[in-house]
Point group: C2
Chain length 211, copies 2
DNA sequence: ATTACTACTCACCGAGTAA
DNA sequence: TTTACTCGGTGAGTAGTAA
């Protein structure tokens, strides 16, 4: 009703009609919004003078921004997967330690990876399908490089949260030691000790796509 | 959680943590959203597969659009005023009948005005101040014109809703027969009979600014 | 593990009414 | 006319628990 931009005058009776409630409820809503400091309220004998406070505007902007991200994004912000931890052959560690990769991880992911990977086996059709969808979404691109002896290929990775706590990234992938039901995770931390996870335990991965 | 863009798998327990409620409440919310046809829900023994329906997405888009208008607009969409009806000297009718104005009203306001104006006297400081604010907001511009004898000046007007029912427009103004506490309203209808208003009665005007 | 029913509590809503 | 209090009924949230 314009209270975002200017002070408006409105009776609780009229507000009630507009929001489809009783006059008493409209009045109580205004009292509560005032107590939250989301509106400034001046009671006159012909209605209330109402204006949103900066804090109140911020609440609306906040909701608006969150909706904007969801509604206007072309793809999901994140994909959540679950899988079972298992021990690999330690090959991941070999790749992670390569300086050509390491420098790019530090620069593009913002952390120096622990020299090893956490292997996750996806067990449900849903998780396997969801991890395949990730290929369609923009990733952080790690470029190929050469050292004296060989070429190390291009790698895509996604920032990730492991068990809703530890930062890391999904590496997709140091091709193709495992089938598509296997994921490799790097992290600044030694995840097995930091999160107290052992082989056979289930972990939850929240994988973030790039905007 | 991505359900706007893809089918996600989520347990009611985990959803409850995310929204800060109990598992039972999360479950009931999903049931209700399903009944509203805002989500599609498939229950598996390891959680629910959830995706928004087109109808569900439309709900979010609708809220988003309304917030967008409020948050991103540079000025209010409308200003609501109240005042007292009174009889003028009938000069408004003279101007409204001029073909140079009439043609522009039809073209720019979308209606052929009843040959007369409804005069409103603003009685409170709030209403007078609010009507002055209108000058700052974009209006429909009616251009000046000449006939054989004289020049008729440029006029700004705003679409309006009278007593939340009748269409019309605020004319600001066929200068300056009255002071700033007086408004003139035109409408396709003879408002005094259509809305059964008489001199001395209070009317509510919702004045719409241009985007 | 899951989901979701039943039963219970509590908070919200609104009628009546005071100021 | 206003706003907003008290108070009683109803609906929303949750614990316990079945499936």
């Amino acid at each position: 009703m314009g209270a975002y931009h200017r002070t408006i005058k409105v009776s609780t009776q009229y507000l009630a009609e507009r929001i489809g409630s009783s006059q008493q409820t409209a009045s109580r809503h205004l009292i509560e919004l005032d107590q939250l400091n989301w509106i400034k309220r001046l009671i006159t004998n012909e209605g209330c003078l109402i204006a949103l406070t900066d804090s109140g505007k911020a609440q609306l902007k906040n909701l608006y921004s969150k909706l904007k991200i969801v509604v206007e994004a072309a793809h999901p912000l994140s994909v959540t997967l679950e899988g079972i931890v298992f021990s690999g052959l330690g090959e991941g560690a070999y790749y992670v330690r390569q300086d050509g990769y390491r420098k790019q991880f530090i620069e593009k992911l913002g952390f120096d990876p622990y020299p090893g990977t956490l292997n996750i086996r996806l067990t449900t059709d849903y998780d396997i399908a969801a991890s395949k969808e990730l290929e369609n979404y923009p990733a952080i691109e790690i470029e190929e490089f050469k050292d004296e002896s060989r070429t190390f290929g291009h790698v895509r990775c996604y920032p990730a949260l492991i068990n809703n706590k530890a930062r890391g990234a999904l590496i997709a992938a140091f091709r193709t030691h495992y089938d598509s039901s296997v994921l490799e995770i790097i992290s600044p931390h030694f995840l097995r000790s930091q999160l107290k996870i052992k082989d056979g335990q289930k972990v939850r991965l929240e994988i973030f796509t790039m905007p």
